[in-house]
Symmetry: C2
Subunit: 198 residues, 2 copies
DNA sequence: GCCCGTTATGTACGCTCGTACACATGACTT
DNA sequence: AAGTCATGTGTACGAGCGTACATAACGGGC
């Protein structure tokens, strides 16, 4: 691809030995690769996510992928786990900070609005995860854990039935707006959430 | 694959000419191919949907795919359009049959419950469509039209704001339950819908 | 300063894919 | 009955893929 790339074919002939890219000392590369994988999934989708694409995004040689991961599936699993954890953590934090039911409702409105306005990439990642989970048990476990964690966070302020239904409403609002050319405004989000909780 | 498949290599040599599968007169094959494509998408996902896989599912030769469709993308677009139309039609019919707001609410409950219990394949198809639409403008138009049609059906009984919010709630309930190992029961669905509409 | 094993790298292999295309067939016109 | 041409079929080709693996480079324990 990039670089001079002028291989001189045989290793045994006289040539001044193969010119290799200088080896790089790079602790934490595995972590960076997982982040790069998330970036590629967000941009190209799981379908367009390949060893070569991730390696290119992280600027490492292809061989580095098979060194750090035993299969592409493993990369995807780790990447989605990281994504779900990150999203759930924010969810947890904002709801933990709320001191009563009204503040909790407002936190939900903010979370939904922010996720719509802030990072469309995260929305795409979530939907990609849903699809991947439909056929991969390991990823299904990731989504299960994520949903359970969200519900638990909501149960700090709402009864279990309300928490579950509210969780579904949140999911619908986010997904619906994400796919729409005419997404809901924060005010419309607030209206929907408060109406359900009224 | 299947069949005798004993090619005899050269066309020009003495052999008794190439043994071809009998040509089949098959009007409406194009339609069947689209249905086969939907079946393959439901089973293997868009990622696992290939010309060869669809051809195998419909029991037609590979060449038939390129004859009827100019690209794989065209097949996907037609298949998803058919899927969205079919789902929207049921939605339309059930809501048109409702004579008042209460019956409309009950129709929504039934639609959600049925789609969960009845055909998990349809749920998978919908999520696959969402992902595909995120990167394909033609498919995005399909989802837009679908959403608009659903909302219009709801607006036969509810004001526009309620219709939109209810549509989102429906989306969330369906998706959430589809991904859960512990999906909501029809009674729980009814509780959620009626609570929102109360 | 020297070894050593962990870390890192380039490349090869076998496979499946989308697509192109030359050729066969038979329904329909005349 | 013959001829035509849309329809139907088999196969080849180049590209990209996941993965394996032989080899290189170097930090750190002696």
């Amino acid at each position: 691809m990039s670089g001079p790339a002028g291989r001189d074919g045989e290793r045994s002939v006289s040539g001044p030995a193969v010119r290799r890219r200088a080896r790089r000392h790079d602790p934490g590369r595995r972590d960076r690769l997982i982040d790069a994988a998330l970036a590629v999934i967000a941009e190209r989708g799981v379908a367009g996510t390949t060893h070569r694409e991730i390696a290119r995004a992280a600027d490492v040689p292809l061989g580095s992928m098979t060194y750090h991961f035993s299969s592409l599936e493993e990369v995807l699993a780790e990447a989605f786990t990281r994504h779900a954890d990150a999203v759930a953590r924010v969810f947890d934090e904002r709801l933990s900070a709320a001191r009563d039911r009204d503040e909790a409702a407002e936190a939900v409105v903010t979370l939904v609005s922010d996720s719509l306005l802030g990072s469309p990439a995260d929305l795409v990642l979530s939907v990609e995860l849903y699809v991947a989970a439909a056929r991969n048990p390991a990823l299904r476990a990731v989504t299960q854990a994520w949903m359970a964690r969200s519900r638990r966070a909501l149960e700090r302020h709402f009864d279990p039935t309300t928490a579950r239904e509210l969780d579904a409403l949140i999911e619908g609002l986010v997904l619906h707006s994400a796919l729409s050319t005419d997404p809901m405004t924060p005010e419309q989000i607030r209206h929907a959430v408060l109406r359900y909780l009224r």
